[in-house]
């Protein structure tokens, strides 16, 4: 039973067809890397799956829940949409941390807001908040920021900021974690620390989808690779299949730019 199922997804912005029918499955514990040149539709694919953009047609099923179905008349309520969205965590290319909050508050904000819906919130408010903070601290420790709980984003390096944003996404315990070019806004010397965190998550068998330009990393960390070209999946398979055994001409041409 796949945790993510995408069927025949299309999306266009005006007259530009960005996705021209994309289908793939992802099973629990898999790490999928999506590669391809700029404008091939990688980021749009991620954004459609977690509902930051609405696709034009196709179906998306996440964790057994129908998240998007263009053939169905039924409209999802705002609450259902939010619940669907919470199944997927997203790490942005440009971090998008909340600048006015400390690293710890960035991680706890969503959890604290969600906790308000609990029936025992009023009675146990203090205890719930301290539990949330302990949880957030342990996640921040996992990404190697045990000494940065009370730092503001502007006091952190790009790599540290991106690790806070990974912690923020993980705190909600999503079924899948999406990374949208997580190292593209970073200096080359800082990308290593992010890749290390992702590698560690992979060994903890976190299900992940990573849009990336780091080819060596994609090959090393993923169980599955998708090469996108001009809005369609050009090749798909294990890293070995895609990169070594049977690379298509289009992929060879693309990979040449990275040598």
């Amino acid at each position: 039973m796949p945790v993510l199922k995408v069927e025949n997804l299309t999306k266009s912005f005006g007259r530009t067809h960005v996705l021209k029918g994309v289908s793939f499955d992802l099973c629990e514990g898999e790490v999928l890397s999506v590669i391809g040149s700029s404008g091939s539709g990688k980021t749009t694919l991620l954004r459609c799956i977690n509902q930051l953009e609405t696709a034009n047609s196709g179906r998306i099923i996440v964790g057994g829940r129908m998240v998007f179905d263009s053939s169905s008349e039924k409209k999802l309520t705002k609450k259902e949409k939010r619940e669907n969205q919470l199944q997927i965590g997203l790490v942005f290319q440009s971090f998008n941390l909340f600048p006015q909050y400390t690293a710890l508050d960035n991680v706890t904000l969503a959890l604290k807001s969600l906790a308000k819906n609990r029936t025992d919130f009023r009675k146990n408010r203090k205890q719930i908040h301290s539990e949330i903070e302990d949880k957030a601290k342990s996640i921040l420790m996992r990404v190697g920021l045990s000494d940065k709980f009370y730092s503001y984003p502007c006091e952190l390096s790009g790599g540290q900021q991106q690790r806070v944003s990974i912690a923020r996404a993980m705190a909600l315990e999503p079924k899948i974690l999406f990374f949208d070019e997580p190292t593209s806004a970073l200096d080359p010397e800082l990308t290593g620390e992010i890749l290390k965190v992702i590698r560690q998550l992979a060994s903890d068998s976190m299900t992940m989808v990573i849009v990336t330009h780091e080819m060596a990393f994609a090959e090393a960390v993923s169980t599955k690779v998708i090469f996108m070209d001009d809005g369609v999946i050009e090749s798909c398979g294990t890293p070995n299949e895609v990169f070594r055994e049977n690379p298509s001409d289009r992929l060879k041409e693309f990979l040449r730019k990275y040598e």
Partner: protein, 217 residues
Amino acid sequence: MSFFEITLILFQGFLVTLRLFALTLLFSLPLGLIISFGSMSKFKLFSIPTKTFVWIIRGTPLMLQIIVVFYVPGMLFNYPIFKDDRFLAALITFVINYAAYFSEIYRGGIESVPKGQYEAGQVLGLTKTQTFFKVVLMQVVKHILPPISNEVITLVKDTSLIRVIAIVELINAAERFIAKEALLWPLFYTGVFYLAFCGILTLFFNFVEKKLDYYKT
């Protein structure tokens, strides 16, 4: 008349100035936010009238607006609504005028918050309201503080315009000494009141800006 007596009389006028200043801020700051939502609305039914309104208010002199609000209702209904309450006419005009300016400042502040902040709120499962109040608002406040302080300091001096409908505020109080006592210096002396008050406001805004300096957007 002694210096002290004149100071006291001018101070009475200054109290009217202060009252207009405080009440204008009290009403126009929230009203401006409502107007800014109107002009940012996706529905043309809301945005076009609001934008036209802001254009008219910002495109005509405040002094003219005071005269219109004070005289026109009386001309239309043949009954002087503000006959006994000139101050109310002045206050209404100031609230509308300043709300229009504040609305544009708010709009600039809200639109300056990057789209990614809203998207981050969305993927973290926050509602739109939660995103606005917990994520966006503080950043807006930080952005708009310098233009707001500018506008507030302008307001201090704009209050002198209400003398066109013969309200005795600070300048008008001083002018009366010219006719009555042939004294010109009290008029110049009013500058000290304005300067002192604007000085206090400047210190206050510097203080608040410092308080918000702990983070950068």
